[in-house]
Structure formats: C-alpha cells, structure tokens
C-alpha cells in the first residue's frame, strides 16, 4: 500500500539533505507502482503477474553537474545515504563539466492530478480478465490453420510524489489500461499474423477497465483469424515506387517510430548519442526546417483526457502542455525539459521530461502525439480518390536509423488499389525511404471523423532502458513517390529509391564495372597489422 505521509516526508528529507550537502538544486520522486500483466497463449495461461515496486529517486545539481541515485523501499537512513551519493556523483561529474548546467525558471507547483477512470483495472478480478482472453483465444483457434492465439491484458498504476528545492510539491496518480490479441496462421511454409485493435502489442490508453469493454474484443476475433489465414494465400506485395495510403493505425505507428523521437531536445543536442539517440534535426532548424508537406501538422498534447501520454506534471514538476511540433510542414517545436530548454534559449520547459520510474533519470519523451486531421474524409474516401497505389492498414514493425533520417517499415497486410477500389490482398508489405522525402510526399489526410486513438505502453529509450506510455492519434494519410515492396531487393532495383547525396560512393561487389575506390596494392605485412 502507498503511505502518503511517509512518501512526502522521505521526499522532503532527500531534498533537504542534498541541499545541506551543497546541491544548488534537488528534486525527489517517491513512487509506488502496481502493474498487472496477463497473457494467454493457445488456450493456456502464459502469465498472470502482478508487480509492486516502491522507491525514491533523488536528482541533484552540484557545481553545474547532475547526479542521480535511486533506492527501493528506502528507510530514513537509506534516503540520507542516497542523497549524499547523488551529491558525490554530481561532484565527480562536475570535474568534466565544460559549462555548468542551468535550468529555465519554473514557478513552484503544488497540485494533485489523477487519471480520470470509471473502474480501476487492477481491482477487476483476474478471472474476469481471463474469461475474456480465453474466450477470444477459443474463437481464434476455431479457424483452421490458426496455430497461434495470443491475448494480453495490461494495467499499471503509478502514484508519485514530487518535491523540489524550489518549493514544488506534487501528488499524481496515473493509470493505464491495455488489451489486445493476435492470431498467427501457418500452412507449414509461411507464417502470417493479424492483430486487434492496434498491432501486436495491443492497445493502451490512460483510462480504466471501461476501455476494455469498449474494445469489443470478442466481436472481432473471428474476422481477425480469417484475415490471418487469407494472408497465407495472398501474393507478396510487389516492388514499386508510387502511392501509399496508411490507415490510421499504420499512420500512428509511423508517427511514433519515425517522427516522434526527432523532437526530443536531448537527442537534438547530442546528449543521448551514446545509445543510438540522435536526431538529424538541430536547434537552429527550429522555425525554418521543412520536415514535410504543407499538410503536415503534428501536435504533442499531454493534457488531453484518456491518452497514454497524459499527465498533470512531468517528472521535473513542469505542468503538462500542448506543443505544436510541426505546423504547415515546418518544424515549430521540441519536446524539452528545463536544462535542454535553457540550452537552446527557450523561455520555458515543454514539460516533456519523463522517466520510467523512480529509478530512472527523466529525459525528453513524446506525450500524446497527433497527426492533425485534414479534409479528405475517411479511409474509403482516400482510397476512392486514388487511381493506383497500395494501402497498408496495420503496422507490424518499423526500423529507424540512429538519427531518424531513414526508415524501413513492414505492415501486417496491404491492398492493391486500382481505380479507386481495393483490389488484391497482399502479404508482407514493406515501404522505406528518407524521413523528409516521405513526409514531403504527404498529399492527403483523412478528416476528423477518421481520427484513430491508439497508445503504446512501452516506448523505449536509453540505457538503462526506459519505457514510458505514449499516446498516438492519427488519421489515414496518403503519400506519393514511396518505395514500396522491395523486401529483399536492394534499392538499386527500385527506380529512384537511392539517394547518395554528395558523398563518394562505393559500388557493390557485382553488377558494377567501375569502382570509385582507388586501387592500391596491398602493403607488405598488411595482414599482420593489428586493425583491432
């Protein structure tokens, strides 16, 4: 159970002790997490886990350098020791600090925030959750060639007390609920998946058990299973360069994986470079860089009700905000915290510094991202307005390079579009390209009625890895000039798909007569040189 007076006392003790030991700033987050994961697989219970964790994270600034120490189930003595260690860590780091870290101003906050829920998902009996998941499982496996049925339920309550040396005292309780399932079909040679309602991880929102009821999980099971089986006989999506329509779920996944991390200001500033966390955007591109076509509008709104990325205050005690990240295709905002905002000269933090738990340092994270609706009706209207192309309605995986410049995405399934109609079903659809070229090819967006609301429970960043929930809202979107298909085909077989920029290029081993690498005779003893 959560002991509020004790949590508050320990947080204050931590901050006071750090300041007494020489910190110029200190904050403490005392958190209590309850998380439940239920997974069923092929008619059996794969896991029914409940995890309860409690601890304190103390962050201090000493001589312009950060130090952070966390301890689980801390006693008063543990808190004092942790505060001292945090100060020692910061002192050690300060030796190598070129410029002292500074924070933008933040007025002290004293407030309470609760995720509005109708029914506590953690209080719903396990047997009720299992009854739904196992019924879905039965339904999925009644369809011939379904070899895998997997259902998931997820609930997470995060209670946190935040206290800072600047006078903030915040009490928040965030609740997340998630559910979903997938059906895997096999004919012995191929394996295909369909999922509901988002993709294989399921759907997650900042709501209560009522969300599970609204998903009507059973109603879709038979269709999902049949769709997985149909894919076994479908032809592979052919390689082409042309028009791509993403359904709202696929567009939401693209928005998250390809775009959202670009705006994280700590990545932009190179602070996350050691762990694949860079961004090809830079601070001086704010307000000038054209990321996409004029139709592209991206907003991050941490204040909306029910989003997986909603909260009252971020983990630096800054109130939740609505940030315009892209307007008319132009970069207009970043996801920032107090030190990163100061570094680029912003007046205030964007309130987007979040941590997985008390044991993690807050970093810039997406909140609830929205691909703002356009005026092209719904998905069917977009298809009807397209003479020829490919429609991908459900995401399966997206790989984005370390700085977000390029991506390679895979969908669960696709449809060929011919003369404004859905034609053949296609399997293993892929598409890839450079981020800016792709979004500059955006030429139509679905209207407000086609807006889909999705969420992920585990958006990952950093090392030690941090996972935070992220809300995603997107409409169907149409893109021109996209390299589609080419699953195993090198890009040179896809017309116009390569972009070598101005750098010298190295041709492949076969199929090229000229080499741009000057030929040199091997030097004597080269084999023995230690290239390690």
């Amino acid at each position: 159970m959560f002991n509020h007076p004790l949590a508050l006392e320990q947080a204050y003790n931590a901050v006071e002790e750090a300041i007494r030991l020489g910190a110029s700033y200190a904050d403490a987050r005392y958190e209590y997490h309850q998380r439940e994961d239920v997974v069923t697989r092929n008619g059996t219970l794969s896991q029914a886990n409940v995890t309860q964790t409690r601890g304190i994270g103390i962050r201090v600034l000493v001589r312009g350098a950060w130090g952070f120490v966390a301890a689980s189930e801390p006693t008063r003595h543990d808190v004092a020791v942790a505060a001292k260690r945090a100060v020692d860590l910061a002192r050690a780091s300060a030796v190598l600090q070129e410029r002292p870290i500074q924070l933008v101003e933040q007025a002290p906050q004293r407030a309470l925030f609760r995720t509005p829920i109708k029914r506590d998902p953690l209080a719903v009996p396990l047997e009720d959750k299992l009854q739904i998941l196992l019924s879905v499982d039965d339904k999925l496996r009644q369809v011939d060639q379904i070899v895998l049925a997997e259902g998931r339920f997820f609930a997470h309550r995060r209670r946190k007390i935040f206290v800072s040396s600047e006078g903030s005292e915040l009490d928040q309780e965030l609740v997340y609920t998630g559910a979903g399932y997938l059906a895997g079909a096999s004919d012995g040679n191929d394996f295909q998946i369909r999922s509901y309602p988002f993709w294989t991880e399921g759907q997650v929102l900042g709501r209560g058990w009522e969300m599970v009821a609204e998903l009507n999980l059973m109603d879709h099971a038979e269709r999902v299973a049949h769709e997985a089986v149909e894919l076994l006989k479908a032809p592979v999506c052919p390689a082409q360069k042309g028009t791509l329509i993403l359904g709202n779920a696929a567009a939401a996944a693209q928005l998250h994986a390809n775009v959202s991390h670009l705006f994280e200001l700590d990545r932009v500033l190179g602070q996350q470079a050691s762990e694949n966390g860079r961004s090809f955007l830079s601070a001086d591109k704010l307000g000038t860089f054209q990321l996409g076509s004029n139709l592209l509008q991206v907003v991050a709104d941490a204040r909306e009700q029910g989003g997986a990325g909603s909260f009252g205050f971020d983990d630096e005690g800054v109130e939740a905000q609505r940030l315009e990240l892209v307007s008319d295709g132009r970069l207009t905002g970043y996801l920032s915290g107090r030190d990163t905002a100061q570094e680029v000269g912003l007046e205030r933090s964007g309130g987007a510094f979040r941590a997985s738990s008390y044991a993690h340092v807050p970093t810039a994270r997406p909140t609830n991202l929205m691909l703002v609706p356009g005026q092209s009706g719904d998905l069917d209207a977009l298809v009807a307005d397209t003479k020829s192309g490919i429609l991908i309605d459900t995401p399966r995986a997206i790989s984005v390079d370390a700085s977000g410049q390029t991506f390679f995405a895979v969908g669960e399934r696709a449809f060929e579009i011919k003369d404004g109609r859905r034609a053949r079903l296609l399997k293993n659809p892929t598409y890839h390209g450079s981020t800016t070229s792709f979004w500059q090819g955006l030429d139509a967006l679905g209207g407000p009625t086609s807006l889909g609301h999705f969420g992920l429970s585990r958006s990952k960043k950093g090392r030690p890895a941090q996972y935070v929930p992220v809300g995603l809202h997107a409409v169907p979107a149409r893109f021109q000039g996209v390299a589609i298909g080419a699953q195993l085909e090198p890009l040179d077989r896809v017309a116009g798909a390569t972009d070598s920029g101005n750098l010298p290029t190295l041709p492949p081993r076969r199929g090229s007569k000229k080499s741009s690498v000057p030929k040199k005779k091997p030097k004597k003893g080269a084999r023995k040189r230690d290239t390690k």
Partner: protein, 448 residues
Amino acid sequence: MRAKEEAFRILEAALSVASSGVDEAEVCLGGGDLAVTTFANNVVQPSQEHSFEILTVRVGSKGRMVRLSTTDLSSQGLREVATQARNRAEHLPERARGVGLPEPQSYVQTDAYDPEAELFRALERTAVAGRAIIAAHQQGLTACGQIAVRRGSLGLDGSPGIYAIANTRGLLAYHPETRVGLRLALRNKSGASSWVEDESFAVSALEPEAMTKTALRRALIPGELRRLEAGRHTAVLEAAAVGALLGPVSLNAGATAYAAGRSFLSGRMGQAITGRNINLHDDHSHPLHRGRPFDFEGVAKKRVTLIEGGVARGPVHSLESAVRTGAHATGHRIWDPEVGETESATHLVMDGGSATLSDLVGSTGRGLLIGRIGALELIDPRQLLMTGTTQEGCFVIDGGELVAPLAPTRFAFSLLELLGKVEALGNVSWANGAVVPSLKVELPLFAA
C-alpha cells in the same frame, strides 16, 4: 544483491509464508546494484546509481499458478504478497493449469563475481570517461559512451532478472554476478566515427586505455566519408555486429515459437539451414558468458545445439514446454514484460575459427568492415529476415587496410542466407550478449 546466506534466509522466510494454504510455492530474489556514467558531447551526462531488489512469489493451487513481485521484503510485505497470490490462484479457471514446479537440480556452476567491481565507483568511472574525453578533445573529436557496473541480476534492458531461487520441492539455487562494461564512440566533424565495446564479469579484464587507443586510431583514418551503392559487398562483420544480428535468434529458438511454426527451426529439423561452417549453441558455462546456471524457475541450464554443421537442431525448452511435448527441459524459461513467460536461448555461442580480425581485414582486397549495427527489426521470424542499419565503426577496406569511414547504410536480409555464405570465421569474443566470431561474408546492403 544479497550475500548467499542472507539471500537464503530471506527465501526461507518467504517460502514459509507463501506456502501456507497452497499446494506448492516458489520464491526468488532479483535485482542488485547498477552504476552508470554516460558521456556525450565530451561531457558527462547525468550520472546515476540505483539499488533495486525484488522478491517474486509464485504459488500453485490445484495446478494453477500465479506470480506476484514486490520490493517490500518486510514480513508484512511478504504476508501481503503471499495472500494476494493465494487468492488469485484459487480463482483461476481449471484450464489455467500449469505443469508444476521443478525438483531440486544439479547445476554447472560458473564463477562470475568480482569483488573489485564494488570499488569501481563514481570517481573511477569518471576517470575512465575523462581519459577518453580528453584524448578525443586533443584530436578534435567528440566522444560519447558509457561505463556501466552491475552487481546482481539487474539488466540494462530494465529487467530485474533473478539471482536466487527456492521452492517447496527443495530446490535452492544462488548465482552471484558482476558485469563491468565500456562502450565508446569517437566522432569527427565529417560524421565519421569509430566504435569499441567490451564487457566482462571482471574489472581487470576491461582495458579502457587500449580500447580508447583503438577507437582513436580508427576515428583518425583520414579518408573521406563514403556512401555505399546498393548490392552485395564483401564485408568483415566485427563480433559486435554479429552479436547484434543474433539477437532475434534467441526468442525464436524456443519451443513455443517452434511449435507455433514461427521459429527458423520450425519444420526444418535435421535440414541444412545455413552453411556447413556454422555451429550455434546455447551454453551458459562458456568462459566468456559465465551465465546463471538456472532459468527463471530454477531448472538447470543445459548446453543445447541449435545449428550443427549448418543443420537445424534444438529447440530450447522450459519445464512446461518439455512436459507438454515429451522433451527434456533444458533450463531456458524466461520472463519478459514484452513476450511474457516463454523460452529463449539466452547464452548463444557461435563457434569461430583461428583468424584474428586483422587476418580477416588483411585478406580482403576490397570490402567493408562493419562495427556496430542497430535499429534491428525482425520482419519474418521463419527466415530470420531482418532490417537495420550500420552505425559507428564502419570502414571501407582496400588492399587489406581500412582506408575510409563509411556512412550509415540500411540492410534487409535473411540471417539464414547470410550464414549460408560465410567465407571465413574469426576468433570469438563476447559481444551484445553472445559469444561470437567476426565473420567474412557477402553482405547485401541497401543504399543509405
């Protein structure tokens, strides 16, 4: 991480509480201490230390099992978690029946604990970072990297792991472990970069100064940054790249994936799936792994061959998958928040050859050296079809020498096909969680 005697005392107390009113119970301890110093832009980023300990109780009532975990190790905390677990198990439907808990086991123990790791604290870590930063700064380079010291089972992926376990059938096991790791990338103004990484249970095995020298030497290779044209290139994959490519193999070598038809082994047992020069095993006792000798429910880990002379073998089993299929348990049950409870080959070992990395590079007339890869996504688990990008530490080889840095490049290929065309294998090292050789292969690449 608790000492053995203290851990066993806690487990004994927890077991006596948890076993009341149920048919059987299991308790385990996970977590430990983690200290990380990260640097980027030639300055130290927020340094962090973290102590975390979690007790997990699994109880079975009429064969139906549930699991609860708590950081509250007080007697009241134990009572609460045991009561909750019992209540949940009793209300499970009949079909949620599991296969029960394992009997006491004999383990192939490994020595993976270095007391020196405890002394590798903030100042020592900062000193290592500082030497790399100063060396980079003097050459006009930018350094980023991380020094991580772990004690116990706490993973850098966020998982607490387990280091001690007991159950009501008399099973009792403990595995102390330390890990010390350094990763370092040096970048010049044109965007070219070098990459070195190493990790060991022993502080003395880590050689930060030698690693920094290697990174410096490579970062200062003077050639112009090159982009690749798409197609097949002769490439030497460093162990770090090979280890990363094997990442998706682990989960797909499990019996559950195999039975569902989504494993690269499914339907191919006894058939050639790679070149004959490929041998892949799971072996926690390999000297470069020194892994925990038991799985998440205390079953002893056994060495399992997955690919032998290019032919499919395996898969790895948990107790449950073994009972359900009539196989022998191999100690490969895992619990992962993303995939739930299933099986995974957690200690992959690919047999290598006698060639050094220098030999492989030196014998390459024209080709590439691939250091680090990332953004890896599995597209098709049956073919191990995956996509990702090359990252730091990639160079053009000409005449057996590294002549120019290489810009990041995307790839999409079947790992099975790639392993069907391995020209030469280097000697092995630990990288990205696997013991692997560097490989000389024909690598199909997309353009950047």
